[in-house]
């Protein structure tokens, strides 16, 4: 069983509330941080090797060190709780069950960055979770962890919850800031980066929920201790939200040394595929990252066992690898249709495109239409090449990464499952009521190691 840093106390009754949370050692990291200098706190986070948990995996300490500090200008910390990447529901779990760990991490981070007012931007659909956070903030304020001169340190710290209103794009940090300013969620052209010009034109750091929560164990135990967990540049623990065709969907904390195979098939995690079915494919890091067929998922092209960490998942680049992304782990069993699944994702991205950039606004709609056409048995062979061509022209040609996020799933589906697309075109009648089957891409008979 791997080490748990964030969810180790999730099972304790009442951990949602302050009294229990505090009794279990909560807010120790704030006490410790307030005795340090802000620079020393940033240094610990740098040492930890913590990487942004929202999807990009950018080193958090480095991001913090970019924050501009002009005299007389306020600085802001904004927590990105807009969790909207299909397959991802880890932040919701953390906020719903252990809201104080986020508040605690945000206080320490606000102190490190010099942010006296910080915001949690949460997706509007998580309305009840926002209520839970607001209650936790009230509790923390009553106990002197928030407000003026917290714990007599001379540091003022306030946290507010801001509800979004249904827009995936607001998970992109500059779109989030636009939205927080009361505007449409149109991403900004970078540079300037938020670290220089962010919320209301002031220097701003935007971090994911899980990233900020991870600051708590980093400060409690030290950056070096955190860096010792995991492997290589994948330090610490990562929350994985597992869904799709598995026996035990849910949120798991892993230490990034386990294999993908163990994660899917062991009873400690996903518990295998229901109804004795076989593994066909998987999108391991949220819908934007490339889908992999079972054989490439479990073993890299070099023949090594693939592990659940940043480096191993991306081994082989997009040709034979994928990405850690947000940790939204979507499993497809042998009965699932790749064309249909890709179609639902293309529809999602068309719906969520903000419409600023033509390649994304138009391209996502074209991809959706063509995929729907193929899925409903009306496709032509040339459509497959057309799809490939469109995704290639979206990728890299937009202001924000939504264009790439929309292009990659389509590209990977064609790259690895072209035969299935072709079969749909050749068998228009059959494809409406029958699945293509496993064909050559899976390791069809799986025998778990530990039986």
């Amino acid at each position: 069983m791997g080490k748990k840093l964030l969810l180790d106390k999730a099972h304790i009754p009442g951990i949602r509330y302050y009294e229990t949370y505090r009794k279990e050692g909560g807010y120790r990291s704030v006490e410790k941080a307030l005795k340090m200098t802000p620079e020393a706190v940033v240094e610990e986070v740098k040492k930890s090797g913590l990487r942004g948990r929202g999807g990009a995996g950018f080193p958090t300490g480095m991001k913090w060190s970019f924050l501009a500090k002009p005299e007389g200008v306020p600085r802001y910390l904004v927590c990105n709780a807009d969790e909207s990447e299909p397959g991802t529901f880890k932040d919701r779990y953390l906020m719903e069950f252990i809201p104080h760990i986020l508040i605690e991490g945000m206080i320490v981070s606000s102190f490190a960055l010099g942010s006296n007012t910080s915001y949690i931007y949460i997706r509007g659909e998580y309305d009840w979770v926002a209520d839970i956070l607001e209650e936790a903030i009230i509790e923390a304020r009553q106990k002197g962890w928030l407000g003026k001169n917290i714990q007599g340190s001379g540091f003022d710290c306030n946290i507010h919850v801001q509800r979004g209103a249904g827009a995936y794009i607001c998970g992109e940090e500059t779109a989030l800031l636009e939205s927080l300013e009361g505007k449409r969620g149109n991403p900004r052209i970078k540079p300037p980066f938020p670290a220089v010009k962010g919320l209301w034109g002031c220097p701003t750091v935007v971090n994911n929920v899980e990233t900020l929560a991870a600051v708590v164990p980093i400060i409690n135990d030290g950056g070096e201790a955190y860096a010792q967990i995991g492997v290589g540049k994948s330090t610490g623990t990562k929350l994985i939200s597992a869904c799709g065709n598995i026996n035990k969907p849910g949120v798991y904390e892993i230490d990034m040394t386990i294999s993908v195979e163990e994660f899917i098939f062991s009873d400690e995690y996903c518990g295998g595929i229901p109804n004795g079915k076989r593994l066909k494919a998987c999108i391991p890091g949220g819908s934007s990252v490339p889908i992999l067929p079972a054989n490439l998922l479990l073993t890299t092209a070099k023949g090594e066992k693939r592990l659940m960490n940043y480096e191993s998942l991306s081994d082989g680049g997009f040709a034979t690898g994928t990405m850690m992304g947000s940790g939204g782990f979507i499993v497809l069993d042998e009965d699932q249709c790749i064309v249909k699944h890709t179609y639902t994702l293309a529809r999602f991205y068309r719906h969520e495109s903000c419409g600023q950039c033509s390649p994304c606004r138009e391209g996502t709609g074209w991809m959706e239409k063509i995929l729907k056409k193929i899925d409903s048995g009306k496709g032509e062979m040339s459509d497959i090449d057309l799809l490939w061509d469109i995704q290639r022209k979206i990728e890299g040609n937009t202001i924000c990464p939504l264009g790439d996020a929309a292009a990659w799933p389509v590209a990977a589906a064609i790259r690895h499952f072209r035969d299935e697309f072709e079969w749909h075109v050749r068998n228009p009648e059959l494809c409406l009521n029958q699945n293509y089957g496993l064909a050559h891409y899976a390791d069809p008979i799986y025998v778990p190691e530990k039986v």
Partner: protein, 163 residues
């Protein structure tokens, strides 16, 4: 005349106070949520104009935001809105079947409202409940692990509440 209740006005002031002086436009999204809740579940133009006046911004600034975000309804909706997720992970777990079942059961299409004004069926994209699929949002809360039986029970529950 459109006017927030005393309680909601107090809430608006509380929200505006979260931002620096002069940045009250930031309150727009939360205030539109309040308005939708208080003024019949959707945002009519006079309601949006009222919100613009309240936050001292131009009406167009409200319209462009209200039309951007999917949670704001720009047309009247039923008393109970079923927002059923249809994105990948929910689809893998049978959301298409749930949507078809609700359509048949309520005899309405996606985006339509029942004649008695009770139910609206909407399809939505990923709500972040992929591990508990298929699911839908109903008001403030999620209804997860949906089955046909559960859908029946939810419809009965809504009807009972309305009576």
């Amino acid at each position: 005349m459109i006017q927030f209740s005393e309680q909601s006005l107090a809430k608006v002031n509380e929200i505006v106070a979260r931002y620096p002086e002069g940045k009250q436009k930031s309150a727009l999204l939360p205030v539109l949520h309040l308005a939708q809740l208080e003024f019949g579940g959707w945002l009519d133009v006079p309601v949006m104009d009222y919100v613009a006046g309240l936050l001292k911004i131009e009406p167009i600034e409200v319209y462009e935001v209200a039309s951007f975000y999917s949670m704001y309804n720009l047309k009247p909706v039923g008393k109970y809105v079923f927002e059923v997720c249809q994105t990948g992970p929910c689809m893998l777990n049978g959301s298409d079947d749930i949507i078809d079942y609700i359509r048949q059961k309520l005899n309405i299409g996606v985006g339509e409202t029942t004649a008695d004004g009770m139910f609206t069926l909407k399809t939505v994209e990923c709500l972040g409940a992929c591990g508990y699929a298929p699911m839908m949002q109903l008001g403030k809360h999620y209804r997860e692990h949906l089955t046909r039986e559960k859908v029946d029970a939810i419809i009965d529950e809504c009807r009972a509440k309305a009576n």
